[in-house]
């Protein structure tokens, strides 16, 4: 990463630091009760003191998230290709996929627990339900955006449908696919925690619930910090994968795209 890229994170870091300082000061000064809202330093202290217990829960949540996300990626790609393959499959499948997103997970999660027990299974199902949809939608869009001249070129070469898909359309849809995966990755940790919240042997979700029930608010916050860090880590990991998989667009970063968009708005 170049210095200029690092500088891009500067404003965010300053803002975050300012909020944390304000928070710390208001708790320490007694404006806010430390029982309701523990100070940031207290949270970090609690996090370190309880790390040995927290670590086990973190590993469990991590496992659920990564497995669920992996299955969602495979399913998302598969659905996208199926939808793209024929108008019939699209008409049959697309409404069902949209309906699957309208199911309130809050109602479904206890049922999953009832059907599949307290093990890892139902949590993975919740993660998959949350994550496959953005991947499918992004991927379908990417496949639809194939350049028409390129299609004509491939047809003039008498390329088969699968060759066109494999040589031209899928690689062309990869940037969209990764946008979908990035969105899914940010959802995935929260989804896993939600799955655990309704009932689990281990995991950050059940840890938060138990801490809240015991009125140890500081430990709830400690678990939240770990969750946020996990989400950020996963997001960066997906971005790294994207960077490795798309060497041809390495000059293009999210930041640059956003900057381009703002400068365009300024012009118009």
């Amino acid at each position: 990463m170049k210095l200029r890229d690092l500088a891009n994170f500067g404003p965010a870091a300053v803002l975050a630091l300012a909020i944390i300082t304000l928070w710390e000061v208001s708790v320490r000064s007694g404006a806010m009760s430390s029982l309701v809202l523990p100070a940031p330093t207290t949270i970090v202290q609690a996090l370190m003191d309880n790390w040995e217990i927290l670590a086990g829960h973190t590993v469990q949540t991590c496992l659920e998230t990564v497995l669920g996300l992996a299955i969602a990626v495979v399913l998302g790609l598969l659905f996208a290709i199926l939808i793209d393959l024929s108008a019939w499959i699209r008409r049959a499948l697309y409404p069902l996929l949209v309906i699957s997103q309208t199911i309130p997970i809050i109602a479904l999660a206890p049922l999953l627990l009832f059907w599949f027990g307290f093990d890892i299974g139902p949590k993975i199902i919740v993660v998959v339900l949350y994550c496959f949809f953005p991947i499918t939608v992004a991927c379908v869009d990417g496949l639809l955006e194939t350049d028409r001249d390129l299609m004509r070129l491939m047809h003039s070469m008498h390329a088969s449908r699968w060759q066109i898909l494999w040589l031209v359309r899928l690689p062309g849809a990869l940037p969209s696919f990764f946008s979908g995966v990035r969105i899914a990755a940010t959802y995935s940790v929260t989804a896993a925690i939600f799955g655990e919240y309704v009932g689990a042997y281990q995991g950050l979700g059940i840890y938060m619930e138990n801490s809240a029930n015991a009125h140890v608010i500081v430990l709830v916050f400690a678990a939240i910090v770990v969750t946020a860090l996990l989400s950020l880590l996963l997001f960066s990991f997906v971005s790294l994968l994207e960077w490795l998989a798309l060497p041809w667009s390495q000059g293009r970063s999210v930041w640059k795209e956003m900057e381009k968009a703002t400068s365009r708005r300024k012009v118009s």
Binding site: D147, D149, L150, R152, L153, M154, H155, S156, M157, H158, A159, Q163, L167, V168, P171, G172, L174, L246, P247, W248, S249, G251
Partner: protein, 282 residues
């Protein structure tokens, strides 16, 4: 206007018979022959006639150019020859095969270079060989030889995004040739380039064409480009397109840039421009 129009029609008829005559007289080796090709697009109840009784002959190893006003249906004609579309009537004879499957048997180059941004120059050039399922090692070797031969080997590992417009067109052309070098369909390949790049690419194309003994069917708006490159020029009318004139260009080969300054070339340029301007007005 009506007098003009009548004159033009008379001339059109005369020219059409002479074109037919030429088609019949050519007993040489034909790479591609189009006879009585019509194309009508239907859209609901309305229909649009785009091609009207087109006759075109491309001899093996010849460089043939189509010029015509914009929107006259040249690209439709190319789609038909490339096998992407079918004619409403008429015969397209490729290598003696009447109305056979043409997709995969011609090297078609679309107007935009249409390079794959995720492939390096070398990998872009061998795309056609991937479609033909040639082993990668062999394909790579072929692409490397080709790139070296035409002065692009130092860019072999670059991505298209880093290349200039002229470079991209060169890469697209080599890709077309590596797929099929017997008949190249080039749809205004230099239309979007600046004048100097254009000139250097024209000379480069002639070089490539001569080394491969390819037959070329070339579309352009540019009369000078047509004269500099071609053995034969077909002038098409406004839509529905029909052949107004067929001109044999007998400038010596290999062509030099200054041949365009010959009195005969200048006269031909004026004549063709006059013909096209009339079409543009109507």
């Amino acid at each position: 206007m009506s007098l003009d129009r009548r004159k033009l029609l008379v001339r059109k008829e005369i020219d059409k018979t002479s074109v037919n005559q030429a088609n019949r007289d050519d007993r040489g080796d034909h790479k591609l022959v189009l006879q009585h090709v019509h194309k009508v697009f239907h859209h609901g109840r309305s229909s649009l006639s785009v091609l009207d009784d087109i006759h075109i002959t491309v001899n093996t190893g010849a460089f043939v150019t189509l010029i015509g006003p914009s929107g006259c249906g040249k690209s439709t004609l190319f789609n038909i020859v490339a096998g992407l579309d079918t004619p409403s009537a008429g015969e397209i004879i490729l290598d003696g095969d009447v109305n056979g499957v043409r997709a995969g048997k011609v090297g078609y180059m679309p107007q935009a270079p249409s390079l794959l941004p995720w492939r390096t120059v070398e990998e872009n050039v061998l795309l056609g060989l991937d479609v033909l399922r040639r082993p990668r090692v062999q394909a790579r070797k072929q692409a490397q030889t080709m790139l070296k031969q035409f002065g692009l080997n130092e860019f072999a590992q670059h991505y298209p995004a880093t290349l200039s417009g002229g470079m991209r067109q060169r890469v697209a052309l080599l890709r077309t040739i590596l797929f099929n070098q017997t008949l190249l369909l080039l749809d205004e390949p230099f239309g979007a380039l600046d004048a100097l790049t254009r000139l250097s690419l024209q000379m480069w194309l002639l070089d490539v064409w001569q080394q491969f003994h390819a037959s070329v069917l070339f579309i352009t708006h540019d009369v000078r480009e047509a004269i500099l490159l071609s053995d034969r020029i077909y002038v098409l009318s406004a839509r529905p397109a029909t052949v107004l004139r067929m001109v044999e260009v007998d400038l010596p080969r290999p062509r030099q840039r200054d041949y365009l300054a010959y009195p005969a070339s200048v006269a031909l340029e004026q004549e063709l421009l006059d013909l096209l301007m009339k079409e543009q007005r109507i």
